[in-house]
Symmetry: C2
Subunit: 328 residues, 2 copies
């Protein structure tokens, strides 16, 4: 029995879906839903393609009350740049939550993942960063370094942005892009410790396997969002920092235990504060987040299927019946 | 960066891809690859949507040497028939195994899964059933009951088919369809024990959670393929039959341990024969299958991502650049 399937391309999605407060609110609702305990979110399907220097992750979540659920496939093939292709690709598929029929194919090559990931950073900053942020810093110089700062600026309109990366040229390019996008001063910092010292909000966006942010750099009134660790073995934040901070918050405790910063802290036997709060619980007030302007907070984002379902459902509403329709 | 994505609908796939010996050979190659130990096949992602009486499974596998790998999404929503919709749906996505880019979307609503599942039954019959099968029996009356018998007939051209199901009308309809499709005598059996007694090849295609085939029904020169159990808790074959048979063969031991017939036999503490052979090992001769015409053999099919990658790669080759092409 045939039915209509909507197909929307990356170009169409980029035209219509921007990283703005609407999307931040959509992703915030995903975290609120997660905190309700009623979301069904299976462990990430992860496949390592060692021969091809690639990996594929599949994420999904069912959020009660949502019309649809997304299945998101994210391939990462790290030799692609040699071929002139981006490393990250993929698509999102939206299914009816009532019938399981395919409703939409978002052929986004990872664009919606970029947006929902940055939006999660904004949600973390909104609920955990000090009310006033004069200076924000980013460790990392890729796509997410840019998008995380743009997203954070939506909720904390800082006046200055600092960029640190291993490659000075990439850091300079990232700073230039951010100065242009945000219309503020942007500076490259060769010393990551100095970047943290001057910032009230720091986001790490690296694939590091050894900490890029040391515990001794923590200072009162600092919020850190670590969004780079999304697989076992990755680690951006000094494990002892998680314990030293006044609050350590996960997007999903189950995921952070196996692929976030919490993994390293638990492996080192350092984590001794019971079950961490989740971002959704901080949003709803069920668990404390920032308890004072001087508090130190860390938010660990591994990326959840709930965000994918939330943004895909939003995009479907937004597009209505536009795009190419195939009878299949 | 945009690239071409091929989109093929269920109608186009049904026109071009038939359940024939070509497809059986393609799926056989998937099992041979699995036996090599070099296939990367992560555990199935499974999501239970209790509120919607639905479930979704995602399967994948990377087979070295294959140009692509498939990710297959199979939703099952069991209230759909009330809405006039089929319970099973879904799609297959073929990715380049070199770059991870989406190459093809097979909007098959489960058709390719039906075909590759039936083809696996033919592979099992080819390598495990007695050389001569006069009578084949099927327990179950759904789509797979028909397809499994059609597939088995390709490799064991039996003269009579017997059908048993709980619903006599459905059994009669299934028998009528098979008589027409195969041009042979087809009979409904109200007694499953009698069906097994008269058959040299039996396939079970039910969603049973209590055995529908008893151990005491086993007889010399019998092969059984159980393909209904694909989730924890399902069980078609009396657990003691697995031990009583001369050979019990898995499509994938890891999957059969958690979702096949082996699960129940292990849970009952009955399984005492070490690591079962896999179908691919029987094909290559690495492990014995049927050791004599009088032997009793059982093959347990849970459905593997390797089959999906094999058939999707085959379909891609078969279609070439046909279908609808979208730049995305």
């Amino acid at each position: 029995m045939t039915h209509d399937i909507q197909i929307v391309t990356e170009a169409e999605l980029k035209e219509a879906v921007k990283l703005d407060l609407t999307v931040v609110d959509v992703v915030e609702q995903a975290f609120v839903a997660l905190a309700s305990g009623k979301v069904v979110m299976p462990p990430i399907l992860s496949m390592d393609l060692h021969e091809a220097n690639g990996e594929v992750d599949v994420k999904t979540a069912y959020i009660p009350g949502f019309d649809g659920f997304a299945i998101k496939v994210s391939p990462g093939f790290f030799d692609n740049p040699k071929l002139g292709l981006p490393s990250l690709n993929g698509l999102m598929i939206l299914f009816s939550a009532k019938t399981g029929l395919v409703e939409s194919l978002f052929l986004d090559n990872g664009y919606l993942t970029d947006v929902r990931t940055a939006a999660a950073g904004a949600v973390a900053a909104r609920h955990l960063a000090p009310k006033t942020v004069e200076t924000a810093g980013v460790i990392g110089t890729g796509v997410q370094a840019r998008l995380q700062m743009i997203a954070a600026h939506l909720v904390r309109p800082f006046k200055q942005v600092l960029v640190h990366g291993r490659d000075p040229e990439k850091a300079a390019a990232c700073a230039a892009d951010l100065a242009k996008a945000l219309g503020i001063e942007a500076e490259v910092m060769t010393d990551a410790a100095e970047l943290v010292a001057q910032s009230q909000l720091v986001v790490t966006t690296t694939p590091a396997r050894e900490p890029v942010l040391k515990s001794e750099w923590l200072h009162p009134g600092l919020h850190i969002t670590a969004m780079g660790s999304d697989q076992a073995g990755k680690n951006e934040i000094d494990p002892s920092a998680l314990v030293a901070a006044d609050a350590y918050i996960c997007d999903s405790v189950k995921q952070c235990e196996v692929s976030g910063e919490l993994e390293a802290a638990m492996a080192a036997g350092l984590w001794n504060k019971g079950t961490p709060a989740e971002l959704g619980e901080v949003i709803t007030g069920a668990r404390p987040g920032r308890i004072s302007p001087d508090a130190i907070t860390i938010c660990d984002l591994t990326g959840t299927g709930a965000q994918d379902t939330a943004i895909a459902t939003h995009v479907r509403k937004h597009f209505g019946s536009a795009g190419t329709v195939i009878q299949a």
